[in-house]
Amino acid sequence: MTTIPYIDMLTVMIVFGIGLYTLLITRNLIKVVIALQILVKAGMIALVLAGRINGQVMTGQSIALTVIVADTIVAVIALALAVQVKKHHGTVDLDKLRNLKG
């Protein structure tokens, strides 16, 4: 096992932290989707980094490419839901989506 390149590791942590923080504080559905995207980007960097650490650069990058595809589908669905939410609730504020409780 090689030592982990600390700067790259730090980047993953910072990007992940930004994503998680945004996800937790924001109440706007569009911003939540953006936060999810930032989170996934941290995962992608981590996968590429993992490939580099153990010398399997191609595996790491091809996995990251697959993640991009899967992640795009999720983003498209999330935005489609956001459009419908705006249409039927009249807002994208998540604080107003509070019918289901208990």
Partner: protein
């Protein structure tokens, strides 16, 4: 048919059917304005019936020669005991749900999309349980998750369904990122992705903080889908707002598939199986308590059933936790038996509730939820459906001689046999919870049989035989498994052995 062809076809038939169903539905809709969904409906039922054939051959091969593997370039799939059990349950439940939905979804817009997505969901589950590679596991998991987001928010003009869909999507997508980070850490540390090779590398490398963080990240990520208690908050909303057939699928098989993914991935990266067994048992206790207490205070039928899924998940976790802790197969056999019986019982309960919802509300173009008091005296107007709902509910509550009693009994016996005082205490706790759960199942049965019919029931539309037939099949299975549990021993014993193999027993 060779085993490899069988496994390929098992995945290829539903996957190939999905676009065909969608296109057939669209073309029919374009050419003949009425009855556009008919071709989609028929194709969906046929595709699942056709997928039964390769599953039969795969099962034959499995029982005679053991696990079968399929290699497509570097992607490797393996059908072991757990995969066979979950795939069979998914197909049977999927077939019942598809048949039920042919009537239930008949007048809804976008019917062809519904059936196409249902096929993708089923293939996602089958692929998920067959994956032998950590990253493939994630890809199949996403396939299953994406189709279920769309199906939960299927009634896209209903504000509540959208709210449930958003909640589900955000929680589940965050969970997948945690899994990705876990995969990256594992990959960085071990340099392999195959679950078996990871296990070898981890046991050779010993305890390291990186692997420990990876296992925690995977526990959180897959735990969202498996509805482990602090992460279950999406479940009651999603299950109650989805179309009833999808509620049955989500409750009956999707959360169990999430649990299988959790066990497979964490089984490869943990070092101490005793600690992990304790952890799973602790989650089991939490699920039992929280699920039951929340279900007690629900007034909506489908929401109550959703919380009851949380508590039923607890029994499965208790059984599997005991097995992981002791590395004895009995607990896991009980847990997997409960996977089968729960999918039948909860499937029947959701479908029966859905049939009543359809007759009482949706046939009047009303999307309001069905409350418990709406079912007052339902047995007088709908004797057959009410009977099946009552059987399913009592089986969930664990009344002998129904299937739920037998699977719970097997879990309890395994807990006592383990001889561990904590496991015994947990089993007693689970048995008490089983009594507690009758506190919300029994009043519903009582209302249906002993109250005067409500106005809603009097005005209800008749229920078609298409909706009743899946209920008949599932109820017969519930009673048969309750009277003669060894009927599925050929499935549960290999599944328990596979689980022990995952945890290195």
């Amino acid at each position: 048919m060779t085993a490899q062809t069988a496994l390929t076809l098992l995945l290829a038939i539903p996957l190939g059917a999905a676009p065909v169903i969608y296109l057939a539905g669209r073309i029919a809709l374009k050419t003949r304005v009425k009855s556009g969904g008919a071709s989609a409906r028929i194709l969906a039922v046929l595709a699942l019936l056709a997928a039964m054939v390769p599953l039969y051959y795969a099962a034959m091969h499995f029982t005679s020669t053991g696990p079968l593997t399929l290699d497509i370039n570097r992607i490797s799939l393996q059908m072991d005991g757990i995969s066979l059990l979950v795939a069979l349950t998914a197909l049977i439940l999927g077939l019942c749900v598809t048949f039920f939905s042919t009537k239930y979804m008949q007048n809804d817009e976008g019917e062809e999309k519904f059936f196409a997505l249902l096929m993708i969901m089923i293939v996602g589950i089958i692929g998920l349980v067959c994956a032998t590679d950590l990253f493939n596991l994630w890809v199949w998991f996403e396939v299953m998750a994406v189709s279920s987001y769309l199906l939960v928010a299927f009634y896209r003009s209903q504000p509540d369904a959208l709210e449930a869909g958003v909640k589900y999507l955000v929680q589940s997508a965050t969970g997948s990122v945690f899994i990705l980070l876990g995969i990256a850490l594992t990959f960085a540390q071990t340099g392999v992705l195959n679950l078996h090779e990871i296990r070898l590398a981890v046991s050779a490398g010993g305890n390291s903080p990186i692997i420990l963080s990876a296992s925690v990240l995977m526990l959180i990520g897959f735990g969202v889908k498996a509805a482990l208690v602090p992460l279950h908050t999406w479940l009651p909303d999603a299950h109650s707002q989805a179309p009833s057939g999808i509620s049955a699928m989500l409750s009956g098989i999707v959360i169990e598939a999430g649990l299988v993914a959790l066990l497979r991935s964490t089984g490869a990266v943990i070092v101490s199986h005793t600690t992990w067994g304790y952890l799973i048992m602790a989650f089991g206790a939490l699920n039992l308590l929280v699920g039951n207490l929340m279900a007690l205070r629900q007034t909506q039928v489908k929401r109550m059933l959703a919380y009851s899924s949380v508590s039923q998940m607890g029994y499965i976790l208790v059984g599997i936790g005991v097995a992981v802790y002791t590395l004895q197969p009995e607990g896991a056999a009980g847990g997997f038996f409960h996977v089968i019986t729960h999918s039948l019982m909860k499937g029947a309960a959701f479908l029966a509730a859905g049939a009543l919802l359809y007759a009482l509300r949706m046939a009047h173009h009303n999307h309001e939820p069905l409350t418990v008091s709406d079912l007052d005296g339902a047995s007088q107007r709908y004797p057959v459906t009410a009977f099946f709902l009552a059987v399913a509910l009592l089986a969930l509550g664990g009344l002998p001689p129904l299937a739920g009693f037998m699977s719970k009994w097997q879990i309890f016996v395994a807990g006592f046999q383990s001889g561990n005082s904590l496991a015994i205490a947990l089993v007693i706790f689970a048995a008490i919870n089983s009594v507690l759960s009758l506190g919300y199942y029994a009043p519903l049965v009582n209302r249906m049989y002993r109250h005067e019919p409500s106005d809603l029931v009097k005005e209800g539309k008749p229920i078609s035989w298409v909706m009743v037939l899946p209920l008949v099949i599932m109820t017969v299975a519930i009673v048969a498994l309750g009277i003669w549990p060894p009927l599925v021993r050929w499935l549960t014993t290999p599944a328990a052995m596979s689980l022990l193999a995952i945890f290195g027993g």
